[in-house]
């Protein structure tokens, strides 16, 4: 089989060496699942021929970008790994219409770095800048800016993907592939809308009482000029150099914020980004992505504070990042139970994968089964993810 695959993608783009198998056995989660072969297609045609071949042999294929998911969505036992890492070029730029076409393996960090020279950017920047465009499209990624600009699906014009039978599509019918975590196809390219790098102003609010903080958020959420709202728990605020109070960072698309100077804004944004550094380097190892309605944000923050779980996040959206210490491994189950009680869920940011399968509603499962029947009847793509199909 290896020879046949090498004839499709080239010998240098396929590996069954023990070291590569081990390197593709993990993602950003605790679990390890060893694949049988790693393949790095260079273009859509190679990916298409690869999936055609895999479908003929009913060989399971797991799709992978840079492996940044925490939901075990890009690892599988005895499967072929189809990695988009070597498909990482910008293929087309139309600055008049603010459109770029990017191969799936390019990270958002590299894309925005490349676009900076022409003063545009892709506005949805997730917490982990290593995420690939393909991964972001597959997860329908969310970022702090999503409060104003929505999720990735609102910024995708067209998606090129190869389904489980080896058929290639370059379609505007993006709902079949955006947010589907690779169950319907391997994303090879995406046409994205970009924006001019926005001018913003910032303001920090600090509160002793949680109710005061939530009242402020309630007011700002309705405000059309608010670009994003970031919440930091008391300990994190303190580590960032503020008092031991809850902090709220508000960014405005106008100049009404107190911090207006570009250099100062950059410094403050860097400081806000460093929150995760403070949290992670002080031993908070496990990371979860709780999503609760705004009405339940009080309960979530209070629960986390009580259990020494660090919390930061996009409070305007109800999407948070909760960090647990290594010794609190058992607390993760308690946290899940708590979330169920409050009507919240996990996996809205980092995806469902295998880990968050229990959070998928029956309605969603039916949608995925329908997609599988249309695009991957033999269930070779990401089997065991999200649903148990066939």
């Amino acid at each position: 089989m290896n020879k046949r695959i090498a004839s499709i993608v080239g010998a240098e783009n396929v590996s069954d060496s023990a070291i590569d198998i081990e390197a593709y056995s993990y993602c950003c989660s605790e679990r390890e699942l060893k694949p049988s072969l790693v393949i790095w297609p260079r273009n859509a045609e190679q990916a298409q021929r690869m999936l055609l071949f895999a479908n003929q042999g009913r060989t399971p294929v797991v799709l992978r970008g840079k492996g940044t998911t925490t939901s075990e969505g890009c690892i599988a036992d005895n499967a072929l790994v189809l990695s988009s890492e070597r498909m990482n070029k910008i293929t087309f730029v139309d600055l008049n219409n603010k459109l770029v076409e990017v191969e799936a393996g390019m990270s958002i960090h590299d894309l925005n770095n490349s676009l900076r020279s022409v003063n545009v950017m892709f506005p949805v920047v997730p917490l982990n800048p290593g995420q690939t465009i393909g991964g972001m499209v597959a997860l329908n990624a969310l970022s702090k800016q999503s409060q104003l600009i929505g999720r990735v699906n609102e910024w995708v014009e067209k998606v090129e993907f190869v389904d489980g039978t080896g058929k290639s599509f370059f379609t505007k019918k993006k709902e079949d592939v955006v947010g589907r975590e690779g169950l319907s196809g391997f994303i090879t390219k995406a046409q994205l809308r970009v924006v001019d790098i926005p001018s913003i102003s910032l303001e920090f609010f600090h509160f002793n009482e949680l109710t005061d903080l939530l009242n402020q958020v309630r007011l700002l959420r309705k405000d059309k000029e608010v670009y994003f709202l970031e919440f930091f728990d008391r300990k994190t605020s303190n580590e960032m150099g503020f008092e031991l109070k809850y902090s709220l960072m508000a960014a405005y698309t106008s100049f009404r914020g107190k911090i207006k100077n570009a250099q100062e804004i950059k410094e403050w944004l860097d400081k806000a980004d460093s929150a995760v550094v403070f949290i992670r380097s002080s031993g908070y190892y496990y990371m979860e992505d709780p999503f609760v309605s705004f009405e339940k944000a009080y309960d979530l923050i209070e629960w986390c504070e009580k259990h020494d779980v660090r919390l930061q996040g996009h409070i305007g959206l109800g999407a948070f990042y909760a960090y647990f210490q290594k010794k609190d491994r058992d607390l993760l189950d308690t946290f899940s139970s708590f979330l169920r009680r409050t009507g919240g869920k996990l996996g809205d940011v980092f995806g469902t994968g295998i880990k968050n399968k229990l959070w998928v509603s029956q309605e969603k499962k039916k949608e995925f089964i329908k997609l599988k029947e249309e695009y991957d009847y033999n269930n070779i793509l990401n089997p065991d993810k999200i649903i148990n199909y066939r």
């Binding site: 890492e85 380097s281 190892y285």
Partner: protein, 117 residues
């Protein structure tokens, strides 16, 4: 036994941000070449040949949220002491001893014997 003296590696949750800056990863474009895989191995106290795939530039440390230093140089030193050395490294060390340079080149106009005096 080879050990990473910097114990912070246990705090690595494999987010992969280190791979973004790594010059080796950007050329080879595969997970096994990047610093995340080294951290994955170091956590398990498995030290394999990939630790030689590092320029020691420190770019991986720059954006690491957990501030993890992989200490590749120290691990390599211990690997050499434990006899786990790559042939290329062996010949490089021999070249240093014989010719005062890693490539084993003779300087123009210098006599070969000079290097043995």
């Amino acid at each position: 036994m080879i050990e990473n003296k910097n114990q912070t590696v246990v705090n690595c949750n494999l987010c992969g941000i280190c791979n973004l800056n790594c010059p080796i990863y950007s050329v080879l474009q595969k997970e096994s070449a990047g610093p995340r895989f080294k951290a994955f191995l170091a956590k398990k106290k498995e030290h394999k040949d990939v630790f030689w795939l590092c320029t020691n530039c420190g770019a991986c440390l720059q954006d690491c949220p957990a501030r993890i230093d992989l200490c590749c140089l120290e691990i390599r030193r211990q690997m050499v002491a434990a006899g786990k050395e790559l042939p290329a490294n062996k010949s490089m060390r021999a070249n240093f001893q014989k010719f005062n340079n890693p490539l084993g080149e003779l300087k123009k106009g210098k006599k070969f014997t000079k290097y043995y005096t």
